[in-house]
């Protein structure tokens, strides 16, 4: 007999995600993924000044903060044919890289780790042995026995207080937890260290964008002028701070994040065969090194992989009316052309129309419409986007930097390339691309310094900032690779105002409901067949869902 | 010239003391304050582009502009309060009754003035001595605008001032939903003053020209010169409009 379970709220994510699953013989046999909160931001930006939109859509998400603002200014610049100065491109790239490192580290330790690390078991660890393990995997200095035993004491008092706070009611002791107590203790230590570190790296955003979360962007470049002889612009002191932060971040990624990932993975190699899902991957590419329109000079390459076929990478064109379309046949919206049609985002519509059960409800009507996410498709195919997609595309295109990290990791873990198509692969890809990004950030930083040294002080092109210089009608698309995957915003400008605005977001691709043909999107597909030891404590579902790093505020907006 | 008009054709004019000194002083202080407030206010809202090489510490231009605005604002406000007071103690031309329509005749007169002065319907001048009804009513609206401007102005000023008087107005920003909205109301209201001043000055000249009663100078010396006929009618208490023609 199949048993229907509901996990709502899914925690340690951004936003409101609900999973309903059928469990039969200890396996997931059917599954539905639903986003249950909507705000209507695409509707809210209509009629506004296109130059202001980055601020509105930036508020789509405070976890992947900056990425929507970036997509938005790019969309407007694309529509108005504005080319930003090289320095602005570099600053945006540095902020992009900063966002990645922050988002990925926080995801790994604070949002994902508790699926693999048993906090309570850490109480039983031997501090000396913990120290030995820690020192064997990394040069990270905080690894003495005293350090771990102090931490353990602190943890013990905490647990004995009876007030477990955020750790209350976890799945502690569940048979799916496989780490020895010592590795668990390292995990807890780095949970706390990462919490402290993450507030440092974001200072790069604060310097260039004035604050974090939600730093400021500007159509035409960036607002942070370079004034090497002025106290209140980007000068030597500000740049030195950026450099320091980027180097510290690289160290943290190299000495804490990735070693931990590689230390935990061997205990969970079975997850290299679980949670693979669609096998279709897509990336728009990002980190331009020769202007955003030169799609051949991107640090993150663009492309599409179908059916796990790494021998062929296809091209993706977000402007083509036939490629990307959003469907709503299973979503709580209406289209003027009928609910079975798909619309390209330039013609997209956002007419919210709830038709689900009246709350409070126990189950969704999954055979009808069941989510506030729309369902995007590329030439009709469901696509997985995110770190795994990016790494696979770089790898499949034969890019040396990608090949090196992927092959060495496969060798270290002694697993075949096929293990990449899994929950473990997705989690590993996130760490591996962080390594790349950490290095690239320093490259961009060096280029910025050398530009300034060579006398290029420009940070914005404001020649077309004044709406008087705009055409009556224009449309554009702004693409980026958000930490969770391919993100694009489509804008239609008319009479100096936003006529239409559509965002198709990474988590929309991954977490969407089925399409008009009943085809599943990435979350649902990857959850099929997941083994479930105890339907009351479905930590296995969390593992795979978390491996995507869900962001529902993004997905629905 | 062959015309032989007898002096009997001429209108006999009589001097009437209309504007007492306090009203005249009020008027010019008010006019001056408003001109200064509009000019400085406009600059506060739209600062000019100055490309200067001098160090900020040597300049206080915007501070000065704002200071002038606040200084003029205080003069404007207390002058206005004074005028309200004078509306109760001054002569009949200064009385508040000239401003607030209280009876049918007031509206009738407004309609008449509208027909004569604005629509230019009748080839005739009207006969009132102080403000005509329409002017009086417009001034009433003006006084409301004064009030709006003082309340919004002091509402904005409350955040910058430590004097208890300005702080009496802290509620204004909360009431309209924040300083931004408050500022915009204050700014929009400026244009009412500008448009009023343009029309007002024109009409003063218009009356002076069309009626020949010394309208402009009346705000200087206080005197107007009205026709014997009008004088008689006023004295009889007959409405200046209804029984002519």
């Amino acid at each position: 007999m199949a048993q229907r379970i509901v996990i709502d709220p899914i925690t340690r994510i951004e936003g409101h995600l609900r999973i309903e699953a059928e469990i039969k013989n200890g396996k997931v046999t059917d599954v539905y993924s639903s986003g249950t909160m909507v705000r209507g931001i695409e509707t809210i930006v209509k009629g506004r000044d296109p130059r202001d939109v980055w601020a509105f859509v930036g508020r789509v998400c405070g976890v992947c903060t900056t990425v929507h603002s970036l997509a938005s200014v790019r969309a407007v610049e694309d529509a108005l044919d504005i080319h930003i100065p090289a320095n602005a491109e570099l600053v945006r790239n540095i902020m992009f890289a900063t966002q990645y490192m922050h988002d990925h580290v926080v995801h790994f330790y604070h949002l994902h780790a508790l699926d693999w690390v048993d906090v309570v078991s850490a109480l039983k660890a031997d501090p000396k042995k913990t120290s030995e393990i820690a020192q064997s995997i990394s040069h990270w200095p905080k690894s003495s026995p005293g350090y771990f035993s102090d931490l353990q004491k602190r943890l013990t008092t905490f647990v004995e207080s009876g007030q477990l706070g955020i750790f209350a009611n976890g799945y502690w002791g569940h048979p799916a937890y496989k780490l020895p107590p010592e590795v668990n203790l390292i995990g807890v230590a780095h949970y706390l260290e990462a919490l402290e570190w993450q507030k440092e790296i974001v200072k790069v955003h604060t310097i260039f964008g004035g604050k974090n979360p939600h730093p400021n962007y500007l159509v035409g470049g960036m607002a942070c002028s370079i004034g090497i002889d002025d106290a209140s612009a980007i000068n030597a002191e500000r740049l030195a701070l950026v450099g320091q932060l980027l180097r510290d971040a690289e160290t943290f990624v190299q000495q804490v994040y990735v070693p931990d990932l590689l230390a935990v993975a061997p205990f969970y190699l079975d997850w290299g065969a679980i949670g693979g899902g669609l096998g279709n991957f897509m990336a728009y590419g990002d980190l331009p090194t020769n202007g955003i329109n030169d799609r051949t000079q991107l640090k993150f390459p663009a492309g599409v992989i179908l059916d796990k076929d790494l021998s062929r990478v296809m091209e993706v064109d977000p402007r083509n009316d036939d490629e990307i379309r959003e469907y709503i046949s299973r979503s709580w919206y209406e289209y003027s052309v009928g609910d079975q049609e798909g619309l390209h985002p330039w013609k997209g519509e956002t007419n919210i129309k709830y038709s689900g059960p009246k709350p409070p409800y126990e189950y969704l009507e999954v055979e009808k419409k069941y989510s506030f996410l729309k369902t995007p498709r590329w030439k009709g195919h469901a696509m997985e986007v995110g770190p795994l997609a990016r790494v696979l595309i770089g790898y499949a295109l034969g890019r040396e930097d990608f090949k090196e990290i992927v092959d060495s990791t496969l060798a270290k873990l002694n697993v075949p390339a096929a293990a990449l198509f899994s929950t473990l692969g997705r989690t590993a890809a996130r760490g591996l691309e962080s390594l790349l990004v950490a290095q690239w950030a320093l490259e961009f930083y060096d280029q910025l310094i050398s530009n300034i040294r060579n006398g290029d002080r420009r940070m914005a092109d404001t020649s077309r900032f004044d709406p008087k210089n705009w055409p009556k009608q224009a449309q554009g698309v702004g693409m980026t690779e958000a930490p969770r995957g391919a993100l694009a915003h489509w804008i239609v400008i008319e009479d100096q105002k936003v006529k239409n605005y559509q965002m198709v977001v990474p988590t929309t691709w991954n977490a969407s409901p089925r399409d008009h043909n009943g085809k599943m999107s990435a979350y649902e597909a990857s959850l099929m067949d997941t083994p479930i030891a105890d339907p009351h404590q479905p930590v296995e579902i969390l593992r795979t869902v978390h491996s995507f790093d869900p962001c529902l505020a993004c997905a629905v907006h | 010239m062959t015309t032989t008009t007898s002096s009997a054709d001429y209108k006999k004019l009589r001097r009437v003391f209309v504007w007492e000194l306090p009203v005249r002083v009020y008027h010019w202080l008010n006019a001056l304050a408003i001109v200064v407030l509009c000019a400085t206010g406009y600059l506060i809202g739209n600062p000019p582009a100055l490309m200067s090489q001098s160090e900020a510490s040597f300049r206080y231009l915007f501070g000065t502009i704002r200071f002038l605005h606040f200084a003029a604002a205080y003069i404007f406000f207390f002058n206005f309060l004074f005028r309200l007071y004078w509306g109760f103690v001054g002569n009949k031309y200064a009385s508040w009754k000239n401003f607030i329509p209280t009876n049918k005749e007031f509206f009738q007169e407004m309609w008449e003035v509208l027909k004569i002065d604005i629509l230019l319907k009748k080839e005739r001048e009207h006969m009132s001595v102080g403000h005509n009804a329409l002017a009086g009513f417009i001034y009433f609206l003006t006084f409301i605008a004064f009030l709006v401007q003082c309340v919004t102005g002091f509402g904005l000023y409350a955040a910058m001032s430590t004097w208890w008087f300005a702080e009496l107005f802290v509620w204004v920003a909360d009431w309209v939903g924040g300083d931004f909205t408050l500022r915009n109301i204050h700014h929009v209201a400026m244009w009412f003053f500008i448009v009023f001043a343009i029309i007002h000055v024109y009409l003063v000249f218009y009356h002076d020209y069309v009626e020949g009663r010394g309208e402009i100078s009346s705000m200087g010396g206080g005197w107007k010169f009205i026709e014997e006929e009008a004088f008689e009618k006023q004295r009889e208490g007959v409405d200046a409009y209804t029984n002519t023609d």
């Binding site: 709502d8 709220p9 925690t11 340690r12 951004e14 936003g15 409101h16 909507v38 809210i44 998400c61 903060t65 004491k153 007030q163 706070g165 955020i166 209350a168 009611n169 976890g170 919490l195 402290e196 200072k203 955003h205 604060t206 310097i207 004035g210 604050k211 035409g220 607002a223 002028s225 106290a231 209140s232 612009a233 709830y354 709350p359 409070p360 409800y361 126990e362 940070m459 914005a460 404001t462 709406p467 100096q496 105002k497 479905p538 | 008009t5 209108k11 739209n46 600062p47 582009a49 510490s57 604005i118 080839e123 924040g178 300083d179 929009v188 400026m190 448009v195 343009i198 024109y202 069309v210």
Partner: protein, 372 residues
Amino acid sequence: MAPVSTKRPTYYEELRGKGYTRRDFMKFCTMMAAYLGLEASGTAQIAKMLMKTPRVPVIWLHFQECTCCSESFIRSSHPIVADIILDKLSLDYTETLMAASGHQAEEAMHQTMKDHYGEYILCVEGSVPTAEGGVYCCIGGKTAEQILQETAAGAKAIICWGSCASNGCVQAAKPNPTSATPIHKLVKGKPIIKVPGCPPIGEVMAGVLVHIITFGTLPELDRVGRPKAFYSKRVHDSCYRRPFYDAGLFVESFDDENAKKGYCLYKVGCKGPMTYNACGIMRWNSGVSYPIQSGHGCFGCSEENFWDNGPIYRQQASFPGFGIESSADKIGMAAAGATAAGIIGHAIATNIQKKKLIANVIREGKESEKEL
């Protein structure tokens, strides 16, 4: 029945349990007093509070939001968040960080609501959609509003994090498709602290909590319910670019010469003069910078209704129906122009219509002149 609070260890007990001495404890209290700007005698007061006070249970709800308030909170540098959640509060429910999901998560919340009825602090991040019976935000099958009412009932006080909970923020901007509603409009009869900002500064958020746990009282609020400590000054009042404002030196367009010199951003739309927040004083991310210092004007993110307060890059609101480039001045100038034109027309018409009358007056005057 023993009072509930005795079940929980106090900070002091907690610190002792962690192996700290009483001296360490007093040192901590002195630091805390200094941080809060208290006289020396304040130290004893804090020590007393901390010795009596157990870890305060907190339920932190997420509704229509973007989680940037939680993100900002974890950016706090003093105290750092690890210390807050391990030593100072018991963060019993927060969807962003808690280990448990689904039923287990809901159970953790209900446990706290039951065990600490009347004692827990309810933090709300996000607004509540009230349209269509609340279907635009459901968690565990219940609407945000239901959850809010249930949890608010036993709360000692409610903290509204960010502009979403305080004033509705971006989703409440026109046309507010989901009827996003701030908390104070839905919950009555409870102390409500608004901590607006999009997001608020991390240290401000931590500061509000530290105030509550240190002094055992709620911070003093201003007229609209914001802690006075952080919202009583305009950004403009503490802006380091203020001398340029006073001097009349402005950035005319982004990245111009004046921008490189750090002139005032007023003319590119800075709303600092109309925005109450601590950005200029505390700055962001432990004092590194704030929007203005990084060259972009303040757009008033802690003000009610700021998304609809006109375009970001201009001082004045635009007028609906007149296009985005409209402003009071453009319309005012048009009105003044129309008035002037009307006056010219009127003057001409007067000379035609009142020809006889004017001729009479002139004749009178001229004849008198002749007679003399």
